[in-house]
Symmetry: C2
Amino acid sequence: MISREQHNRMANAIRFLSMDAVQKANSGHPGLPMGAADIATVLFTRYLKFDPKQPLWADRDRFVLSAGHGSMLLYSLLYLTGYEDMTIEDIKQFRQIGAKTAGHPEYGHASGIETTTGPLGQGIANAVGMAIAERKLNDEFGADLQNHYTYVLCGDGCLMEGISQEAISLAGHLKLNKLVVFWDDNDITIDGHVGVADSTDQHARFRACGWNTIAVDGHNPDEIAAAIETAQKSDKPTMIACKTIIGFGAPTKQGTHNVHGAPLGAEEIAAARKQLNWDSEPFVVPADVLDAWRAAGTRSAKARSDWEARLAAADTAKKSEFTRRFAGKLPEGFGAAISAYKQKLADEKPTVATRKASENALEVVNGVVPETIGGSADLTGSNNTKTSQTKSITPTDFSGRYMHWGVREHGMAAAMNGMALHGGLIPYSGGFLIFSDYCRPSIRLASLMGIRVIHVLTHDSIGLGEDGPTHQPVEQMAALRAIPNLMMFRPADATETAECWQIALETQDRPSGIALTRQNLMAVRTEMSEKNLCALGAYELVAAKDAKVSIFASGSEVEIAVLAARALTDKGIAARVVSVPCFELFAEQPEDYRKAVIGNAAVKIGVEAAIRQGWDEIIGSHGTFIGMKSFGASGPYKELYKHFGITVDAVVAAAEARV
Amino acid sequence: MISREQHNRMANAIRFLSMDAVQKANSGHPGLPMGAADIATVLFTRYLKFDPKQPLWADRDRFVLSAGHGSMLLYSLLYLTGYEDMTIEDIKQFRQIGAKTAGHPEYGHASGIETTTGPLGQGIANAVGMAIAERKLNDEFGADLQNHYTYVLCGDGCLMEGISQEAISLAGHLKLNKLVVFWDDNDITIDGHVGVADSTDQHARFRACGWNTIAVDGHNPDEIAAAIETAQKSDKPTMIACKTIIGFGAPTKQGTHNVHGAPLGAEEIAAARKQLNWDSEPFVVPADVLDAWRAAGTRSAKARSDWEARLAAADTAKKSEFTRRFAGKLPEGFGAAISAYKQKLADEKPTVATRKASENALEVVNGVVPETIGGSADLTGSNNTKTSQTKSITPTDFSGRYMHWGVREHGMAAAMNGMALHGGLIPYSGGFLIFSDYCRPSIRLASLMGIRVIHVLTHDSIGLGEDGPTHQPVEQMAALRAIPNLMMFRPADATETAECWQIALETQDRPSGIALTRQNLMAVRTEMSEKNLCALGAYELVAAKDAKVSIFASGSEVEIAVLAARALTDKGIAARVVSVPCFELFAEQPEDYRKAVIGNAAVKIGVEAAIRQGWDEIIGSHGTFIGMKSFGASGPYKELYKHFGITVDAVVAAAEARV
């Protein structure tokens, strides 16, 4: 049992590491780590199931610092509890280039950082995804192997962001009772008192969404502990409102927004040392305190070895499946299934909308990859994301494989990040491409973290027709291609759709988006290729000897390109076609390949029912682009293509004008 | 007084216009107009203050159809109440190219469409902005001239979107008691029963945010009327939960998601005609019903003429100010004030961060333009958006000119759209450029609508330093430049910042974003120019005879370009510099000007601390680009510039390697 005095000294270790690191960096946020140190100390010394020696233990509790600006809280905890890759030297390097201890917690920089946070509200939604993953895997593998809590620390900022509502309402709906949110209820935001901008009764709001709520003094370890124990027994998710003083311990600045995001200054830190009776030098933790922390870090070692014993004792199939899942490897047979499916498509050459082709591909995928979890933001029938294998997950039954995310694109994308981070599952979403704008911050974070989430983005152009410009993406492909590390696919037919799915699934360390049509498309890939041509990013689909014209296109416009090339050839103008399903992968090909695909034809034409931005890297700034220059319009889609001049005739005319 | 039977027939007119128009278009959403027809009929025939003969009457009540897919509800109401530019022919053209009656309501297509809706949750947040504008102008001009309600009709989808929470919590905080939200509580979403994805107690949630809530039978006109009257007397915003049957009147399909987004079919419509005892042909409204509706449309004519009399009787200064405001014209003297300020800058040549330069420009702007309303999403001290003139607006005092939006970027942007749509005010925001991702859907809608909102977007590159990649925009400039009609500015110094502000304010029909630095920049514009050079989009900043090298840059990298040009000139390599504060405006210049600015130098180099995407249109695909190829990193900003190779030396080396 940790005495109150010992608790205080342990919490103060966090406070001084945080103050001193921020001061040394001359940059950072001391207020949250100082205010929330007591909460974190209670959680990490008494409840959190974790083992610094095995940071990736699949059944560890997850801890998410949603208020990511308080990163020094997390770095302090990792150092103090004995994570080997977080040394005092790392703490001293806070916020320096190349340091593990970046300004905000960066997933992958050091063990124990469960997710990248900083953009507010993301962490709490990540945690909802982690908690869903836990319930799902608990159902599948049993409590012996999956039975852990997910804890979140968030601030007022997280709760003001709209994404928090999507996350909270979803968690309450699903009765994620192993999810516990600590609200660092310190009354302070950057602009001053929270009351300057918000008067929400957070308890009532959470309860309206199906949560328990508990209010505690966030500096009273016993109250915090009692609340955690109550939460652990709950049949609902629990929000523990911890009334804290931001910057607790800074004699003149605590309780004000001045401690939020700036170093306290040498004088204030010296005064804090006096006030908290802390006589260690900066970055020196007294031996007794460090010992106590390190002991806390070994607290779950037996639980972990017991778990390992249970895994070892599990039957072979279960053990190997569980291990495979958490290693992120696809099942054997996946490649063969895709190959067989591609052969079928080459034989049948279906005319089909790519959203439907995606459903057909998923029917194959979901049959051989049991870890996929599909879903849609209330557009299931439009996104074609549900297959015969994917029963719906409900609050009382997690044996399904399909999430009805509700009209919550942002919460969906962020929760999917949490599911992927948790491990054991591969989430794919369903939404309209236009509404990628609603979840862009989470797609960006998936790209930054390098995690495997897959976004199914249907209705990918003016081809959706009558719903009009509010629903017609014209700049979304460009805007998503702009995000580093994201693979944005726009397949041209059923075969390319299958190939894009294969790449998205086989790539463990990057997210994908797959843009799909509402309208039917002819098969442009008519011969079987064992090789995944989409993995090249772009490839020659129609060759032509001594081509005078090269036509480059993606998705639904490849059909136009192929028909235009035929028409030109009929007119004696040799024209080739290059399909460009993925700009990012094409940019990563060897220069020789890129040059060969781009080719030497004097006339280069790009065709995409979207804006030109980005296409110059393929067609050159002197290339001709047939696409959109404005927002779309409401009307039948074939008329829209004519109205905006994206037609076979337009491509032919453009080519003829230039050869 | 309208009898119940008459009410029913009037509501059924909406139902049949909607059914028939969707059927004729073979596309659309009949469910909402049929379900919400009773609510709309009560509101429009008994409470809404509007005059179809004067659709822009400044003191009209605003009606926002947040559930924009139910557009036929609105079009029906506009036709029935007698808006002259909404004819039965327009209704027959539903969802055809060029029609006023687009798939979703499009602002500007026809009178009475107060905002463009469709992307869920936007309308309710627009309405919050309209209600803020009303309170603000009421405070400023008195209840004689501004005293109206804002009504919203939203569905479950709107309430599941996170943006709704931002809007609701803000409205409750500000006690916007003239805001009334009708929740079309029909239990149905596209994926089926709402309960598939959500269990939120919406009454409790709204009350937690400071609202009144009332539950009514949404097909009982008396209950609806009583609720509206209660709401009108409230000291809080009110949510009226109207329990409705989606697709009310469709005998076999009502109450299911099958009526949501597809034509009912001829058979079902015929059966509905029987069930509702409606024997008119499609698009024919019985004369008595049309007469009753047209009478409802004249209901507020006297209120309008009384209002006009009050305006006419107001003192000259007040009358002319009010009229000027609603005409969207800037005050006389604005140009002169900017000019004087630019002269001061030319004399002083300050080294200053552009976020601070923006504050200084705003100090001038806010001194002469009383209709600006500033604000920040809880980053006031970082965004530098508050000036000496902008006292904070509070729940009890709307005499201020500054909004503490809270950590609600999306709600802020959407509410700003509502303020601009309302008229009389020019809203400008404050946020980090990275978090434009959080409000991108609303920025897009501002661009689509062509309204004057101005986004101040600070911390615009890796130049923000230690906060790291989660906070460093690398792709946001490209992604925002991708949005049609949006002017994205990235000024290079204080003078350019002033010029960008001038353009943003003087352009009535487009939104703007102004990307600004955290770090200090030297003055690159050292001579006074009466002409607004930024209005050209790009211009030659440093000329060079027989230039071998042209360096193009924006914002903070213009300084680098200028220093590199000097270094090259010192080495005998003539180099010129082009500043590119706004891609969109440059793209709109005459071809001659564009060619002259791009110039003939063999070596073209672009410099921007962001990705290349989009730059090829200026430097060509063979140009050299010095910028970012990945996410950023956490560290001191000068070190980051070195780390990522965005330096004077790098530009010089790149030029030397190619001349």
